[in-house]
């Protein structure tokens, strides 16, 4: 991307334009199916004050710019109690041309630049990322501890599996499942081992853009030096960061795919064959980073044509990211192909899916908010009639499983790759226990 995707002057113009209509508190109006699941914003659902909504955050940005509010703990506590899930932006952009999520992100960037953000816990994980390449402050040398000895990795492969920090250290079952599926399909793949570093998403989303740039350069240098052609990700957050955010700062020329996209291709090509019935009823949670926020910015170099006073149009029309190009079909197609499996939908899905509650530094700085949001989502999953909740992101996995535990729900959680393993005739739990040595 050669031009700045959200320039300062756009920010300054837009923060004056909020209608305070509250549309951003709800899923798109025409999609509302019940009173219970009409809302779209985890922050609003928990804290209630307008300031926590997408629109409220825009007002705060304006008040900050005008000097009406000064940096304070109160301000940071509102600004950072937001998962940057982007649901407000989908609702607003249904008709409007504002960019609530861009404004939220840029406001955080300003607070960091001005020396106030992010929250102390987020500063701590940023330091950890700089020191040991992961925000969990785990030893770098343990990054590949998840890798069972019987998994075949091909150091010469041009297909790279980027595992990510959360799957490497916290959700090892996902890393193992993804690797086993590729082995089962006979697809040679490489992993970076010592050369894999945090993608930078956790620091980017809290506004520390400078630390993020260092991280992305570090990663891209490694990947380009190895001549990687395709990278696959089982983490929606890493995927989104590579796919959408990296190109805003540095172009690269490899392909990025989430495992659900890649596995769907393998199924289509007949490389993965489902042989075993998995007679369960599942509901699928769309991770924000695989869905609505995973749309690449399209460069626009057109002209703004003033049609008449106050009314301008863009020629050609400026591409508007409104969630339509997220990855929604691939996971559903996979699930629908698993013999015996029944997929039922929750009320809030796809581009207006409800966030698990963990993202953008919330899980570390405001664990109570993360759990409360997760419990809201768990209730919705239960109401769908399913007894299994499935998703495709290790961060969602952790938070949704925490929510299940906290709410005493009977739901069971699986990553989609684990269900694929079952359909391939491999019992994931046994396999993981047997091979990961108590992962």
């Amino acid at each position: 991307m050669t031009t700045e995707h959200f320039p300062e002057q756009e920010y300054r113009r837009m923060i004056k334009m909020c209608l305070r209509c509250s549309v951003c508190k709800w899923i798109p109006q025409v999609q509302i199916k019940s009173q219970k699941y009409a809302s779209c914003c985890p922050a609003m659902d928990i804290y209630d004050y307008h300031a926590y909504s997408g629109g409220g955050r825009i007002i705060l940005a304006l008040a900050y710019e005008m000097g009406r509010v000064k940096p304070s703990d109160d301000l940071l506590n509102i600004v950072y109690r937001c998962t940057e899930c982007g649901n407000c932006a989908i609702a607003c952009k249904y008709m409007n041309t504002l960019e609530p999520l861009e404004i939220i992100m840029k406001f955080r960037e300003k607070l960091v630049k001005d020396g106030y953000g992010p929250m102390p816990q987020q500063k701590a994980y940023t330091e950890a990322m700089k020191k040991v390449n992961n925000p969990y402050n785990e030893p770098h040398e343990k990054r590949v501890d998840w890798l069972p000895s019987d998994i075949k990795v091909d150091p010469d492969a041009k297909l790279l599996y980027y595992v990510g920090c959360t799957s490497s250290y916290r959700r090892k079952e996902m890393a193992i499942a993804a690797a086993r599926i590729m082995n089962a399909a006979g697809v040679p793949f490489n992993i970076l081992k010592d050369d894999e570093f945090c993608c930078g998403s956790p620091v980017y989303r809290t506004g520390d853009v400078e630390s993020f740039k260092v991280q992305l350069n570090k990663n891209l240098d490694v990947m380009e030096s190895k001549g990687i052609e395709t990278i696959i990700f089982s983490c929606a957050g890493c995927y989104d960061t590579f796919k959408v955010d990296y190109p805003l700062y540095r172009e690269y020329n490899f392909e990025v795919l989430h495992t659900v996209e890649f596995f769907e291709q393998l199924i289509e090509e007949g490389k993965l064959k489902f042989t075993t019935e998995v007679p369960i009823m599942v509901t699928y949670h769309d991770p924000c980073h695989l869905g609505r926020t995973a749309e690449r910015y399209e460069e626009w170099a057109g002209d703004e044509l003033k049609l008449m006073p106050l009314v301008s149009i863009n020629i050609p029309p400026k591409p508007k990211n409104i969630g339509a190009k997220g990855v929604y079909d691939a996971p559903r197609n996979i699930l629908n192909k698993i013999p015996g499996l029944k997929l039922v939908e929750m009320e809030r899905i796809m581009e207006y899916s409800y966030c698990c509650g963990a993202g953008a530094g919330v899980k570390s700085a405001f664990p109570d908010m993360a759990i409360r949001s997760s419990k809201n989502r768990i209730e919705e999953a239960e109401d769908s009639g399913a007894n299994i909740l499935v998703s495709a992101c290790p961060f969602c996995s952790t938070n949704l499983q925490d929510g299940i535990k906290e709410s005493g729900s009977k739901l069971k959680y699986y990553d989609i790759s684990e269900l694929i393993l079952m359909a391939l005739g491999l019992d994931p739990e046994k396999l993981i226990q047997a091979t990961a040595g108590g992962a």
């Binding site: 305070r20 025409v30 009173q35 929604y328």
Partner: protein
């Protein structure tokens, strides 16, 4: 900020997490859309911030509201209640105020599907209530503002026309029992809700003068006469089958159009023709939407972006367009309604452009059914506000529309408002054409000072024109200054309104920036 001891008393009512008197929160609640031109009209700096309230408080029950209001009386602090809070009329007129954000009062108390009414609290949105009512084959009246607004606010406190008004009426006419916390903290229960035995919500009046009139009249008291905590409102049959299936992605969802729904847009070619045809369509009671909108507005309701709007230039040439959307539950009903419309088209030599010259996106029908058309008004400049607001006969509404055109054109020439050829208007009927509503939506740019000032001057001139040309009362006659201007022309109604205000609000604590003060109340500011 509140004094510490006073804050503590409020905290004791709602709990410390539900009151915030910090700078950050109170500044957020000082902002609203269109506040910049309201400020300008009042001779203040044209910024989108009103006076900053002392605190924001979020009660969850009627009892909490009552206690808050009693504290306001004790400490002579004004209060402003808000539901979803859209628009400048939610803003305090003084910094000696607190805002009651009623977000936590969000229950649908009941849906009585047999007697066709629902009881709701403040922060149930129109879309939420409709979604639940649809489960019984019913719908609810929503204002043109859209389904995100609060039916309680619309029914008790503010205006009330909507796109489905031909079928669902006007909010003022749909109010049943009301639970009302008066400005002195006492509770009033209107109509059948006030009965000693078996109180219920089914009617809003009892013996004696109508308290509903005092509560809201035609335009609403905008929090100037207490806080409404629950309201019974009428429900109506949903116009079609309630099966509502959407696939695809925003905004152009693929809506499975119900079998029995049809839209008509035709050019009535002259003002006289429009009046005659609109009355006729209404008389036949076939449409759940019957709206006269300008050519530009026809383009807007079918568009989802400014570029999409420009694609539809061919629709903009319609001179006196009428939009009719009809729905039916059975084939027989549908055939009958279509036949009636065919007769009207033939009789007046009209051409329906829908599905002949223009095929709407499927989601358009979903938006008609879910009351989402008004939001398209923001498409061109991001900001709009309406002048006029007459509620009268079709002839008067059209006269108001016509006389507004040259005035609007004057401001278009000044490049203060967007060019809709001066024709931007929305006119709908209520209750089968017994009376009509007309307003003149005007697009401006709220971030452009010239546009803000121009818009304010235009609104002012438009109001004056209504007075001089005997066009009835516009709906934004609010606040002391305008009431004092209009009262002498209308039976000195403002004196009566002041007496009501004084009787109901002896300490003048219900913020009346958008209502009327009892005059001496101003001294509390």
């Amino acid at each position: 900020m509140l004094e510490k001891d006073i804050l503590k008393e409020f905290q004791d009512v709602v709990g410390p997490e539900f009151i915030d008197d910090g700078d950050v929160m109170t500044n957020v609640y000082a902002y609203n859309w269109c506040t910049e031109f309201v400020n300008y009209m009042e001779g203040k700096e044209p910024i989108p911030f009103s006076p900053v309230p002392k605190a924001v408080i979020l009660p969850s029950t009627t009892e909490e509201v009552q206690k808050i209001i009693k504290l306001c009386n004790k400490y002579k602090i004004k209060f402003k209640a808000q539901s979803t809070g859209l628009g400048p009329w939610n803003q305090p007129s003084t910094d000696n105020s607190i805002i009651l954000d009623l977000r936590r009062m969000n229950k649908i108390v009941k849906i009585d599907e047999k007697n066709l009414y629902a009881v709701v609290e403040s922060y149930v949105s129109g879309a939420q209530l409709q979604a639940e009512a649809m489960k019984y084959g019913l719908t609810v009246h929503m204002p043109g503002a859209g389904p995100m607004a609060s039916p309680l606010a619309s029914h008790t406190s503010m205006a009330g026309p909507g796109f489905t008004s031909p079928q669902t009426g006007h909010s003022a006419r749909n109010v049943l029992g009301v639970e009302w916390v008066l400005p002195d903290g006492k509770i009033m229960r209107l109509g059948s809700l006030g009965q000693k035995n078996n109180p219920d919500w089914f009617i809003g009046d009892g013996p004696g003068p109508s308290l509903r009139g005092i509560m809201r009249g035609w335009v609403g008291a905008k929090s100037g006469i207490g806080v409404f905590t629950k309201v019974g409102i009428k429900l109506f049959p949903y116009p079609t089958d309630t099966k509502f299936v959407m696939t695809g992605h925003a905004p152009l969802y693929n809506f499975e159009k119900p079998d029995y729904i049809r839209a008509y847009v035709f050019d009535c070619k002259s003002w006289k023709g429009l009046e005659k045809i609109m009355l006729r369509v209404e008389e036949e009671e076939v449409g759940f939407i019957v709206s006269h909108i300008s050519g530009l507005a026809v383009m807007a309701i079918f568009s989802y972006s400014i570029e999409g709007l420009m694609d539809k230039m061919a629709l903009g040439v319609l001179k006196n367009p009428l939009l009719v959307v009809m729905g039916a539950r059975t084939k027989r009903e549908f055939d009958y309604k279509q036949m009636v419309m065919e007769d009207i088209l033939t009789e007046y030599d009209l051409e329906n452009i829908i599905d002949t010259k223009y095929v709407p996106e499927k989601v358009f029908y979903a938006e008609c059914l879910r009351a989402n058309l008004g939001y398209h008004g923001f498409i061109a400049t991001g900001g709009f506000q309406s002048a006029k607001g007459q509620a009268d006969a079709a002839a008067l509404c059209l006269r108001a529309e016509k006389t507004n055109i040259p005035l609007k054109q004057k401001y278009i020439k000044k490049e203060a408002i967007a060019n809709d050829f001066g024709e931007g208007a929305w006119m709908t009927s209520y209750e089968g054409g017994h009376f009509f509503h007309m307003e003149s939506p005007t697009m401006f740019n709220q971030s452009d000072l010239k546009s803000v000032k121009g818009m304010a001057n235009y609104m002012d001139e438009s109001n004056k024109q209504d007075l001089i040309k005997h066009l009835g009362a516009p709906f934004f006659i609010e606040g002391d200054k305008l009431h004092d201007e209009w009262g002498p022309h209308m039976m000195n109604y403002h004196n009566w309104l002041r007496k009501i205000k004084a009787a109901f609000d002896p300490n003048g604590v219900a913020d009346s920036g958008f209502y009327i003060t009892a005059k001496k109340e101003c001294e509390n500011k």
